[in-house]
């Protein structure tokens, strides 16, 4: 057992820069596949509802605004979202309609302000789209 075995290491740190990042004045870069908040690209969505079914936090809600025009409304409740990106994985279209970005500074005063919604017409499945196993491809009326 040595007395003050730690001492040289301690003293060396007096001359090093601190390891702390002075957030929020300086920010760290997030890596490439960072899971931030999900968002929809409405022109690609075929309303198969796989994301709604697979979301563990029930934070995706798809309702029909107008059945005849095939107009739907999707609300993403960002206050419920757990940022797992399962919706992105479950989305069957190529390119994916559900995407995830790198935003993580989501604090707000009111959780109702954290909801995002889109109103859109359901996209038509292109015949030569490769991996589209869902059964919601109806012919356009």
């Amino acid at each position: 057992m040595r007395i003050a075995a730690f001492l040289p290491e301690l003293l060396r740190h007096l001359f090093k820069k601190p390891a702390t990042v002075d957030y929020p004045f300086k920010k760290l870069e997030v890596p490439k596949d960072f899971r931030g908040t999900p968002y929809l690209r409405p022109e690609l969505c075929i309303v198969c509802r796989a994301c709604e079914r697979d979301c563990p936090a029930e934070s995706i809600e798809i309702t029909a605004v107008n059945e005849a025009e095939k107009r739907f409304r999707m609300v993403i409740h960002n206050d419920r979202c757990i940022h797992c990106a399962q919706c992105v994985d479950s989305c069957p279209t190529t390119p994916k309609a559900m995407q995830i970005d790198s935003l993580y500074e989501l604090a707000a005063d009111d959780r109702h302000k954290l909801k995002k919604d889109w109103v859109y017409v359901r996209a038509v499945m292109k015949p030569k789209a490769p991996a589209a196993p869902t059964a919601s491809s109806e012919p356009t009326a």
């Binding site: 057992m1 730690f6 490439k32 596949d33 899971r35 697979d54 757990i82 797992c84």
Partner: protein
């Protein structure tokens, strides 16, 4: 003059609420009692209403530090039920993240042990180095905790060459630092004076009380699910089970640091020998009826998940036995005849993940003041009865 000190439910030494009631005389503890249930969230009930994919995320959130161990244990079980064999590359990535999680958990524990002993500089240094592992995990999976890299049938993300190089770099730095911490932990006199000879648990006691994980391995009992029952890739990797013979908190520190060094070896083997191919195999939505018991060596010990399916896309029953629960009876024995000053150290030495242990099956009898050893026997008796009467369909033989 003997009086009762309550440690918890709210106490600066505890990260989560638990109630330990100690009867003390002066500074010596003469009796201890554990009350659980402050962190009960009803996860097993919630799991009965979600489909197989959603439960991965639910089960991951049983614990923040050992999240991947719960998710992997569950996914292993479900893949058995659905009779899926994930591709080799997927398995390697899954267990690579598992070993990285073991590294992060042990570094966290070293810091916590230092903090409980008042050695704050050690705490700060180990947590600074833990940032290296957290950054690696963020790079692989997109998040620092709750990696969510498992999916039924494999993993969700792939690793490319640049990431492999960064992993090897990070592990090389960490190896040097871990050896330095080993050296400090064993030779700083005030630290060793606090942890040597504290929390004695002899080998016979450890076996009788069903201790798991590093708590048992520090008493010289070499139990490790990865060696006894090698699942997935562990029969191809070359590693040793770390044990120590001193049966005290110092032994547990030594065991965890040795496990860190073994994990670095395993990570290097896995990264260098990563096979090519797919990472996932398509999983059906419904599972055939049956039941399965899935075991996994979490950083804290043996994690057991029992899943029963009935042919739909939701499970009939999910039961989780987290490792910390197995260590509670041993803790009561260790606390006896100790000093008050040693309570946080002894309790921290089992690496308590209290939120993992909050399953409320038969612990009702603890409220009446009975020793928890009886409850363990209760659980054991029920488990034996159930396995005798259960259908032999989903038997627990590992095909991997």
């Amino acid at each position: 003059m003997s009086f009762q000190i309550p440690i918890g439910p709210q106490h600066p030494a505890l990260k989560e609420p638990i109630s330990l009631r100690m009867t003390v005389e002066g500074e010596v503890i003469t009796g201890a009692d554990i009350r659980l249930g402050y962190n009960h969230r009803g996860i097993e009930k919630l799991a009965e209403e979600r489909n197989w994919t959603q439960i991965i995320y639910l089960v991951e959130r049983i614990c923040g530090i050992c999240s991947h161990s719960h998710a992997t244990c569950y996914v292993q079980g479900v893949e058995k039920l659905m009779e899926l064999v994930p591709p080799r590359r997927g398995m390697y990535i899954r267990y690579l993240v598992a070993e990285l999680e073991r590294v992060h958990s042990h570094l966290l524990w070293l810091g916590v042990a230092g903090h409980e002993a008042g050695f704050d500089s050690f705490f700060m240094y180990t947590w600074r180095d833990r940032e290296i592992v957290m950054d690696l995990l963020e790079m692989i999976s997109g998040n620092r905790v709750h990696y969510a890299i498992n999916t039924i049938g494999g993993v969700r993300r792939d690793i490319d060459e640049g990431q492999k190089a960064k992993i090897l770099e990070g592990v090389a730095i960490l190896k040097k630092r871990s050896e330095y911490y080993f050296h400090i932990g064993a030779s700083e006199p005030s630290f060793v004076g606090r942890i040597a000879g504290v929390g004695m648990l002899s080998k016979e006691q450890a076996i009788a009380l069903c201790a798991v994980g590093p708590t048992a391995r520090a008493s010289g009992w070499d139990r490790d699910v990865r060696k006894e029952d090698p699942y997935a890739v562990y029969d191809e990797l070359d590693f040793e089970v770390a044990t120590a013979d001193s049966c005290d908190v110092l032994g547990r520190v030594v065991v965890r640091v040795k496990e860190l060094l073994e994990s670095y070896k395993m990570i290097e083997q896995m990264v260098k020998g990563l096979p090519d191919g797919d990472i996932v195999v398509k999983a059906p939505r419904k599972a055939k009826a049956g039941e399965v018991v899935s075991r996994y060596e979490a950083p804290r010990g043996e994690n057991i998940h029992y899943i029963k399916a009935n042919g739909t896309d939701k499970p009939e029953r999910l039961k989780v036995r987290a490792p910390t629960l197995g260590n509670y009876p041993a803790t009561l024995v260790m606390l006896n005849k100790g000093f008050i000053a040693d309570i946080p150290l002894i309790f921290a030495a089992i690496d308590p993940c209290i939120c993992c242990a909050e399953r409320a099956v038969t612990l009702v009898s603890a409220r009446s003041g009975e020793e928890s050893v009886v409850t363990m026997g209760d659980l054991r008796r029920q488990a034996l009865a159930r396995s005798k009467n259960a259908p032999v369909k989903g038997n627990a033989v590992w095909p991997f």
